[in-house]
Amino acid sequence: MNGRGQLILGIVIVAAAIAAPLIFPAFRAQIAMLWIMVLFALTWDIMGGQTGYNTFGNIIFFGTGMYASAVLQRDGGLDYFPGLFLGMGLGAVIAVALAAVLGSMILRMRGHYFAIATLGLGIAAGELASGWGFIGAGSGMSPPIFPAAPDVSYIFFGYLFFGLALVSFIVLALVYRTRFGLALNAIRDNEDKAEALGLKTDLYKVAAWMLAALFLGLCGGAAGNMLGFIDPRDTAFAGATFGVWMVLMAILGGKGTLWGPVLGAFVFHVTQELFWTYLLGWQRVALGLIIVAIVVFFPQGILGWVRARWPERFGHRIETP
């Protein structure tokens, strides 16, 4: 797809996104959730797709943002909107700092060791949060209630999350074009060569993770207010749902591409909203089956498959014999 096609597609999506909550008032909550999912998949792909470092633990930044914002709103004594936006800011700052600290510790590991370390971090965060009295321990926290009807709140949060997803998409699209993006791809393709060429790979990896943490922290800070209740294991550090979904959506759409995670998030979220209610009690079985099926039979994702099928549309030249 060329630049103009992408621009037109982008404008169509933006127009649809602005109109959607007004046309489908019954689905406002689901639409707001969809933009969170898009953001999840996009930020996962920074490390997982572009840098080649698969993480199971990006959810910690989301949960950290959520808790930071809720604590500020509880103890800050601010009005609702200043509290919310300051909380999102605080959540982002803490998440980025956490990414810098953790990243400089564990991003020196290679491949699957990193993946398992992040898996451990994600669960440890949930366990620690559910044991820490200051943030409500196992009984969770309740952020302040939106000062208007719930219907209005979903419109507000829907547009807020759409804005966040859009900003992160544009930022990532720009970042992937710079030297920084090329460096990340170089690390994915062959880290030792990248290092031998003089790239400070550790620095790039930590910076990439911080970028992911920035958006996840912002998103988490607002998501707590939309969901209305923060449970340490089921909403904030929900490794078995959000944490897995973000990996799955990025892979489903095609990891390592810009549009892939967006597409994957759309497909997964719509499928999930359509069928999940019929699977009461069996959702995780279905999720497990989907993961296995995608990983085993369709690891290249939708866009990866399309690119392999019609390479000329993606600017790859085909050698003709």
Binding site: N54, F56, M105, I106, R108, M109, R110, G111, H112, Y113, A115, I116, A117, L119, G120, L121, I123, A124, E127, L128, S130, G131, G138, D192, A240, V244, V247, I251, G281, W282, Q283, R284, V285, L287, G288, L289, I290, I291, V292, V295, V296, F297, P299
Partner: protein, 300 residues
């Protein structure tokens, strides 16, 4: 927290009690870790579904007692059922991810683990299950130290299983084939070993070991559909610390981990035990990486 440490020093019997409980618990981790080391070493797959195999073994034993069968028969029966289950799982899923990138197999087994968790929840319900073994408790040192006989049986049984596995790998024809495949799969194939069957057998043996461990867990401790992952992480840590292909090391690391975890639970409070396990995992990985980084061995 400080009070608890003080308490340990004031009452040496309590110290003994905590250490003993931990070591006996650790022996069970060692069984699951043998299996993980085997699968990792032979097939180059990190099996995240390990902990769910343990829980499944426990639930099978629980089901047997519901049918009025003595839980001790659960050890061989759970092992046999899981052996078949493991082989079936190999042919359906694992086979297709063995030669792929390690993250693919990691994610595939992670998917299986989520699937099995809720499947067990649907079949046996979300309650913590335990089985009465019918054995009594020893009271030592004037009733200050209590040792459940079943915990001793579980600990000794775990070590015995390890011994059987070592002899099996050294002496039997299949064991030799497994070790040959672990050394060099391609050369093994050239020499006429059907590596596909060897992989299937390895995965089945791993599942059987976990099943036996699960039968011991449900008798001496308890099982629940959603607490499998800590067992996976414990096995992973043990294997990393001991190294692949070092079964005596796996036993020692298992016992040490059990003791460390029990002390942590006593000092920090039981609600932080799982958090301790996962934090320890991260610490061990970081330390391992710093140690190996100088030699650049992590590249392998």
């Amino acid at each position: 927290m400080i009070d608890n440490i003080q308490l340990l020093f004031d009452a040496p019997f309590l110290l003994l009690q905590v250490a003993l409980d931990g070591i006996l618990f650790g022996a069970i981790f060692a069984i699951a870790a043998y299996g993980m080391a085997l699968v990792w070493g032979v097939m180059n797959v990190i099996n995240i579904v390990q902990g769910e195999f343990v829980m499944l073994g426990g639930f099978i034993t629980f089901q047997l007692t519901l049918w009025g069968i003595n839980p001790f028969f659960g050890i061989p029966i759970a092992a046999a059922v899981l052996f078949v289950f493991g082989i079936a799982l190999y042919y359906v899923v694992i086979r297709r991810v063995v030669d792929k990138d390690m993250f693919i197999s990691l994610l595939a087994t992670f998917g299986l683990s989520i699937l099995l968790q809720q499947l067990m929840n649907q079949i046996w319900g979300g309650d913590v299950r335990t089985v009465q073994s019918g054995l009594s408790t020893w009271f030592l040192f004037d009733y200050t130290v209590t040792v459940g006989q079943i915990k001793v049986v579980a600990g000794v049984g775990a070590l015995l299983l390890g011994l059987i596995l070592i002899v099996f790998l050294k002496k039997s024809r299949l064991g030799q084939a497994i070790r040959a495949t672990a050394q060099n799969p391609r050369a093994a194939r050239v020499l006429g070993i059907d590596t596909d069957k060897v992989f299937a057998a390895t995965y089945g043996i791993n599942a059987a070991l976990c099943g036996a461990a699960g039968a011991l867990v449900v008798m001496a401790y308890s099982v629940h559909p959603y607490i499998g992952l800590p067992y996976t992480v414990r096995s992973f840590m043990i294997v990393i610390v001991a190294g692949l292909g070092n079964l005596p090391g796996v036993i020692m690391a298992g016992l040490g981990l059990g003791a460390a975890e029990n002390f942590a639970a006593f000092i920090l409070g039981a609600q932080f035990q799982v958090a301790f396990v996962f934090c320890l995992l991260v610490v061990i990985l970081v330390v391992r990486n710093t140690l190996l980084r100088r030699q650049r061995k992590y590249l392998k």
